[in-house]
């Protein structure tokens, strides 16, 4: 592993012809560098180009333009079986006519490994995914979670430089999915293999990834550590897609190295002390983004940073209560953690009640208008 990056996409474009005969850039000039030993996720809704990007790394698709590099080598039109990567498919793609052992041994037999070697390696990888004793079962006789493990084992037994995972947990129920997320992460750390993971589930990406690429319309919207992506989204799309946000239109009044001052016409007020993100210009129209959990709500008057609002609705979802308020004609959603029991109906705000909303301005984001 001498190359700097395990996988690199350089200005990759993939064009598809739609059934209507139009050309569509499923992947639109994507550049990304995935480091060795990294757990890297591509996150986005369906049609954002994440699966196509993964399939180009695997070799199932070839780029229309640009180049895919694996361990520093340009892949060109190399078929999948000549790349040191293996894929865990969304549907698992297990061979139903073969046993668990035969499924996992398949890749080794193709390499021409001898019998004792195959036996040893299959046994080892079965231990790793905790399926010892299941060798002679057929895939149909396994639960969804076990099938998923077989799919992972079948790919890992080849000791790939990079393991590609295409929404591998999509078919599992929530509890099992969360368990498998932690297991996959532990496995990745234990093996030190680069994982490239495709998902539409932001929580899943956050749980496991060292870095996330948020994708939309074939383009990478932002790439970075989960905390960075959540706390400092690069644009309105990311702020909206990852978590939730209240958006307000504003205009930059003044800009210094330390803070931005933004005028909010809807509230006819200036907000000071906002964090400055690069690329902002004085006088520019911007979008101000406020995370619902970063707003404090109270029926008492607090400090000068508070805004008066009226409660329009409350929604109880167990862990939290969502309070919808109207602040001078703009809807602001606030998230209150249910630290205390809500059994007493009096613990909820009533509709029409006057409340004060407090925002820590350093948590308010100023984003370029789209």
């Amino acid at each position: 592993m001498t190359a700097e990056f395990a996988v690199e996409l350089r200005d990759v474009v993939k064009k598809f012809i739609t059934p209507e005969g139009n050309s569509l850039n499923a992947v639109d000039h994507v550049t990304m560098q995935i480091k060795n030993g990294e757990f890297f996720s591509m996150l986005g809704s369906s049609g954002c180009g994440k699966t196509t990007s993964l399939r180009m790394i695997a070799g199932f698709e070839w780029p229309t333009e640009g180049e895919v590099y694996i361990e520093g080598k340009a892949m060109g039109h190399l078929p999948p079986f000549q790349r040191k990567v293996n894929t865990v498919f969304q549907s698992y793609a297990l061979f139903q006519h073969l046993t668990v052992f035969q499924n996992i041994a398949f890749g080794l037999e193709m390499e021409g490994a001898d019998k004792s070697e195959i036996e040893k390696r299959v046994k080892h990888v079965l231990e790793m995914v905790q399926l010892t004793g299941m060798e002679r079962r057929k895939p149909k006789q396994l639960s969804g979670g076990q099938q998923q493990r077989v799919a992972v084992a079948r790919a890992l037994v080849k000791v790939p430089d990079v393991l590609l995972l295409d929404e591998p947990l999509g078919a599992l129920d929530l509890k099992l999915r969360k368990e498998m997320q932690l297991e996959l992460k532990a496995l990745q750390q234990q093996l030190g293999i680069t994982f490239v993971y495709v998902t539409h589930d932001q929580e899943e990406a956050m749980t496991m990834s060292d870095r996330i690429a948020v994708m939309s319309k074939g383009k990478v919207q932002q790439m970075g550590h989960p905390v960075e992506i959540y706390e400092r989204p690069a644009n309105k799309f990311v702020a909206d897609f990852i978590g939730e946000s209240n958006f307000l239109d504003g205009k930059i009044k003044s800009l210094s190295k330390e803070e931005a001052v933004v005028f909010i016409p809807a509230w006819n007020t200036e907000i000071t002390g906002l964090p400055v993100s690069p690329g902002l210009v004085n006088g520019e129209e911007v979008t101000v983004s406020i995370r619902p959990e970063k707003v404090l709500i109270s029926d008492q008057t607090l400090n000068q940073n508070s805004f008066k609002g009226k409660v329009t609705n409350t929604v109880y979802i167990g862990t939290d209560t969502h309070v919808y308020t109207d602040v001078m004609g703009k809807r602001v959603k606030v998230l209150e953690q249910n630290r205390i029991s809500r059994l007493d109906p009096g613990s909820f705000y009533t509709i029409g009640q006057d409340v004060n909303l407090v925002m820590m301005f350093e948590n308010v984001l100023v984003l370029k208008k789209e």
Partner: protein, 307 residues
């Protein structure tokens, strides 16, 4: 009465199954029993059935003959055993050829663009719109001495100034084989297509991902996963080929006699329904035995339901 029926689940089940049951009894069980009874009978000089319990017909089928050289009252005549054996080997050969021809075609259709698949399947089915007998006669037009094939071959030979004697293709075992293969090809294509079409594309990708090239993928993944289709097709082809008499009658003339022809002639020409019945039952038992061992080895082929 109605109330009692409402409470009695098993009576309800019997009642619901009764139409099918009556159908089966009336159209399958009773005729079979009648055939069995007749097969134990004897032929009267004017072609009627004399009911008795005699195994003569079966003994005759297995080679006992009274039509012998002078001085012998009985001898071994393998004529009917030869017919049975010929039918069995022909059915086997036809099935093998049908598989060899149908598999690549089914594979081609299953891997074609989804938009074109239906067109191809339609083309496979079109011949079935024409009557079976007419399709066999069409082969006669192709194969006979003055037929289309010989005309074309003669024309080609003429171009190169070569001498040409028309090939004798009609009324040969080969002609019967060609006819059988042609007639039953669609019944193999459809189930194989169904099982190939069901194979998810991601399985091919997984095989490629794990290091298999095209040939290995075919041998290790495609072929085993499409075996249910081959099994179903084999059952759908082998059984009718064993019993059909039209193909051998028209394309084989008097040269290629199969069990089907034997049975038909006993009923229509020789006017011996007792011997015909015995031959029918032997055919059935033979087919059952072969099918039994085949399905025990390969399973029933779930595609038979789909097809």
């Amino acid at each position: 009465m109605l109330k009692r029926l409402r409470e009695n689940k098993s009576a309800q089940g019997t009642l619901l199954a009764s139409p099918t049951l009556l159908w089966m009894i009336g159209l399958l069980i009773i005729p079979l029993i009648l055939t069995l009874i007749v097969s134990f009978g004897k032929r009267s000089p004017d072609g009627d059935v004399i009911y008795s319990f005699s195994l003569d017909n079966y003994i005759r089928l297995f080679g006992y003959s009274t039509d012998c050289d002078a001085g012998q009252t009985s001898c071994f005549d393998p004529l009917y055993l030869q017919i049975l054996w010929r039918s069995l080997t022909l059915a086997f050969n036809s099935t093998v050829w049908v598989i060899l021809l149908a598999y690549p075609l089914a594979y081609f259709i299953a891997r074609a663009h989804p938009k074109r698949r239906n067109t191809f399947l339609f083309m496979v089915l079109i011949p079935l719109w024409t009557n079976f007998v007419i399709r066999v006669y069409a082969w006669m037009m192709l194969l006979r001495t003055q037929g289309v094939i010989n005309l074309i071959l003669g024309w080609i030979a003429g171009l190169f100034n070569l001498p040409f004697t028309p090939l004798e293709m009609l009324y040969t075992p080969g002609a019967v084989l060609v006819g059988m293969v042609y007639e039953f090809l669609p019944f193999m294509i459809l189930p194989i297509y169904t099982s190939l079409e069901k194979i998810d594309n991601s399985l091919y990708e997984a095989a490629a991902d794990l290091g298999a090239n095209g040939i290995k993928t075919f041998l290790r993944v495609t072929l085993p996963l499409s075996m249910p289709g081959v099994v179903a097709g084999t059952i759908l082809v082998f059984i009718p080929v064993m019993g059909t008499f039209i193909v051998s009658d028209i394309l084989g003339g008097r040269q290629v006699i199969l069990v089907g022809n034997l049975i038909q002639r006993q009923f229509l020409d020789a006017r011996d329904p007792t011997f015909g019945s015995a031959a029918s039952l032997i055919l059935m038992v033979m087919t059952l035995i072969v099918t039994y061992f085949y399905t025990r080895k390969f399973g029933f082929g779930e595609e038979i339901v789909v097809a």
